[in-house]
């Protein structure tokens, strides 16, 4: 089955959910990726979880869009040395899983945890693994797939490096991968590394976060239309060919808030993605 091309909501923080869905729908996207921390959703979920869920469900009913979810990422850390923070993180992610289950989203993407040291230690990895073990039964209950996002290649404090994701996959059969094209190539545009990671994790990639990395460090998720390097597009085609379990391709473009004509930019992005993957 062909993957759905979705609009990422993380860069549209000032918009209401309905407006984001309208943009996605009008532009021709098949789905949306919603961050639970999108202020319009987050504030409601924090105030009253059930009412927040109802709000999202009712809004989505007006659109023919499939939904994938990005879990909480701010200040939570599955590998924290602080047991209280680890506990809160697990609670928060369990709530995210429940949210997915209730709005019938199949995939929850979570971020790699972080270490406060200059490189992950065995403790960090063990804590992360403990967290995953605590979350998986919950995923089963709500029929949700937990997908770990590949971290920025330059982030030395990311605990779950691609090698560790690979180890984690071997330990936990039911953990999946969200492959972020901007993160894996980094500011140095290391396509070889991007391909290596994709090849290693190919059996587990359920979602691709699609964006160019403009290498200046401030706009890491740049529109595809700003990329002039054909090697990047060649890499994307190869990565796509590896992924036989892919469900979603999410266009994650930075600074959409500052763009006046969001729809025409997104239409162009969608056209590039469709042509690239023949979708």
């Amino acid at each position: 089955m062909e993957p759905y091309i979705c609009l990422g909501s993380g860069y549209l923080p000032e918009l209401k959910l309905e407006h984001i869905c309208s943009i996605a729908s009008d532009t021709g996207f098949k789905g949306v990726e919603l961050w639970v921390e999108l202020p319009d959703i987050w504030e409601k979920l924090c105030k009253n979880f059930n009412q927040g869920v109802r709000y999202v469900k009712e809004t989505l009913e007006n659109f023919d869009l499939i939904v994938t979810i990005h879990g909480a990422a701010n200040d939570v850390n599955l590998s924290s040395y602080n047991p209280k923070v680890r506990k809160i993180t697990i609670e928060e992610l369990k709530e995210n899983i429940k949210f997915c289950g209730q709005i019938r989203a199949e995939i929850l993407t979570i971020h790699s945890s972080t270490t406060f040291k200059d490189a992950p230690t065995e403790w960090d990895i063990e804590y992360f693994s403990e967290g995953i073990r605590a979350l998986l039964p919950f995923c089963e209950d709500y029929d949700v797939k937990l997908s770990i996002e590949t971290p920025k290649i330059e982030d030395i404090q990311a605990v779950v490096t691609p090698e560790i994701i690979d180890q984690c996959m071997k330990m936990h059969e039911k953990v999946w991968v969200t492959y972020d094209t901007s993160h894996v190539i980094g500011h140095q545009h290391n396509y070889r590394e991007g391909l290596k990671i994709a090849e290693k994790l190919k059996e587990k990639i359920l979602e691709i976060h699609l964006a160019w990395n403009n290498s200046k460090g401030q706009n890491t998720h740049a529109p595809l239309q700003t990329c002039k390097d054909s090697l990047f597009f060649d890499m994307l085609k190869t990565v796509y060919s590896y992924c036989n379990k892919l469900k979603f391709i999410v266009l994650e473009i930075d600074n959409m808030n500052e763009q006046k004509d969001k729809v025409s930019i997104l239409e162009h992005e969608l056209k590039i993605a469709r042509e690239l993957f023949s979708l």
């Binding site: 993380g10 923080p13 701010n74 200040d75 850390n77 602080n82 923070v85």
Partner: protein, 283 residues
């Protein structure tokens, strides 16, 4: 008379009592305790109180405690993390109260680093300043009730998502809570702003600075908490300035962390750093 001390975190690979003994043997008169010191961190509050009561009476240090900071944020956009951050500080205040330690050091909060909030609040810190103000107000009240002085530390000037970095930040929070709380001034954190801005901060806050944290910030590699060297001219200039302008003599605490784990290397580095500052502080 200024007392010079060391953060206990300088010696994380030996036991709590061995670390204190090492600091005493090196001739330091003050210690900044951290609840995140490995041997303390694994204990619950009652066990921490018991350990402090067993070990600390054998030493004659002027003490302060740094409350935990790793993965905590009193201004978090996640209310659960915000609550836990305040609970950790409250527990540190209780520990201080039960063990007769009079000063507790706390950090301000920071705005979200991740999407989607970081875009929304790119130029707008207001909700997070409000949360920091509310948090500090609550901590100050608890400190008063427990007879513990709260010292709020300036954050790294170069980490722009952090809230209490500048004089203006401190003034904004002070005005919001309508109370002049005490400050621990970390010279390394202030150094990215340059000597002039550091001096301005010191002169404007001179009556509120009750402790000073001392280490080197290397602008080239952008790293804080490095040992002092002969190149640390700005640090020594700031220390001289403090000696001239501060009405009191706050304790100077070495917070040098980026070192090899070997205890003798760490001890020698402290001795060397101490010798470097002696002319500036007059001891």
């Amino acid at each position: 008379m200024v007392k010079i001390g060391v953060s206990i975190i300088t010696f994380p690979f030996i036991s709590f009592s061995e670390a204190l003994q090492k600091i005493e043997d090196l001739g330091f008169k003050a210690v900044e305790l951290w609840t995140e010191f490995p041997e303390i961190w694994k204990l619950d509050l009652n066990e921490r109180i018991k350990l402090f009561k067993e070990i600390l009476p054998s030493f004659n240090f002027d003490l302060s405690i740094h409350s935990p900071i790793t993965d905590l944020n009193i201004s978090s956009c996640n209310p659960k993390i915000q609550e836990i951050s305040l609970i950790e500080i409250e527990e540190t205040l209780i520990l201080a109260n039960k063990t007769e330690i009079k000063k507790v050091i706390v950090h301000g909060g920071f705005k979200p680093k991740e999407k989607p909030f970081n875009k929304l609040n790119k130029n707008n810190l207001d909700p997070y300043i409000d949360q920091t103000s509310n948090g500090i107000k609550q901590i100050l009240k608890q400190g008063e009730e427990l007879g513990v002085e709260i010292l709020v530390e300036n954050a790294e000037y170069d980490e722009q998502h952090k809230i209490l970095r500048t004089y203006d930040d401190f003034q904004t929070i002070t005005n919001k809570i309508n109370k002049e709380f005490s400050i621990v001034y970390d010279i390394s954190h202030g150094l990215p702003a340059g000597t002039k801005k550091n001096k301005e901060f010191i002169i404007k806050m001179k009556n509120r600075i009750k402790e000073v944290h001392l280490s080197f910030f290397d602008k080239k590699i952008k790293k804080h908490h490095l040992p002092l060297t002969f190149q640390s001219k700005e640090t020594l200039e700031i220390l001289n300035y403090m000696k001239k302008h501060l009405p009191s003599s706050p304790n100077l605490i070495f917070e040098i962390y980026n070192l090899p784990p070997d205890v003798s290397i760490r001890s020698n580095t402290l001795k060397h750093s101490l010798n470097l500052i002696k002319p500036s502080v007059g001891v």
